[in-house]
């Protein structure tokens, strides 16, 4: 069981690292939001599943499940709020053509 928990934790940290690298490498705000909204969310969800397996069935893992569901809804919503605010403020999405010319 511990090995399964460690597997989920490792997978989660892999995706968190991918999100971090993506935020450093990607060219503009909107593409960075792709890395944040997807990789970071899944990384965290996998980490929480790993901790839930490690903890076993108890009230604590029920609380972890609550955090899981909350983050699954909250993280894309926060991403959307930032994207919408950036769009309203007139931040132009980067495109391949402008980048070369």
């Amino acid at each position: 069981m511990t090995y399964l928990a460690v597997f989920f934790l490792v997978a989660g940290f892999f995706f968190i690292l991918v999100g971090t690298v993506g935020v450093l490498r990607l060219p503009d705000f909107f593409t960075r939001m792709h890395a944040v909204g997807k990789c970071d969310t899944l990384g965290m969800l996998l980490c929480l599943i790993g901790l839930m397996i490690y903890e076993g069935a108890s009230l604590v893992s029920l609380k972890l499940l609550y955090i899981w569901v909350f983050l699954l809804m909250a993280n894309p919503t926060a991403t959307h709020v930032f994207c919408r605010a950036a769009l309203k403020c007139g931040l132009k999405p980067w495109t391949r053509m402008e980048g070369q010319g």
Binding site: I16, F29, A85, C89
Partner: protein, 91 residues
């Protein structure tokens, strides 16, 4: 062995937070900074939970991370709405 793994994981999360400060401080627009803060907040939740798992007292740390998740989310929503109305991208 599990403790060594957890300690490594905590180090990894701290590294990720430091790297994200590299996005918060120079970030070209205010929204890059906000994104960095969002990710630092979510990493802090994982950090707290890992500390709790190392400490064998996950029950206490999970309450803290729940409160942190809720408060951080609402704070970021308010900040996003505020900057949307303010319309100043370059600060």
């Amino acid at each position: 062995m599990y403790y060594v793994f957890l300690a490594l994981a905590v180090g990894l999360v701290i590294l990720s937070v430091i790297v994200f400060f590299g996005r918060v401080i120079p970030g070209p627009s205010v929204f890059d900074r906000l994104t960095g803060i969002l990710v630092i907040g979510t990493n802090a939740i994982i950090f707290l939970l890992l500390l709790g798992a190392m400490d064998e007292r996950l029950g206490m740390y999970v309450d803290m991370s729940m409160a942190y998740a809720a408060i951080g989310f609402i704070t970021l929503l308010v900040l996003g709405k505020y900057f949307e109305r303010k319309g100043d991208v370059d600060r």
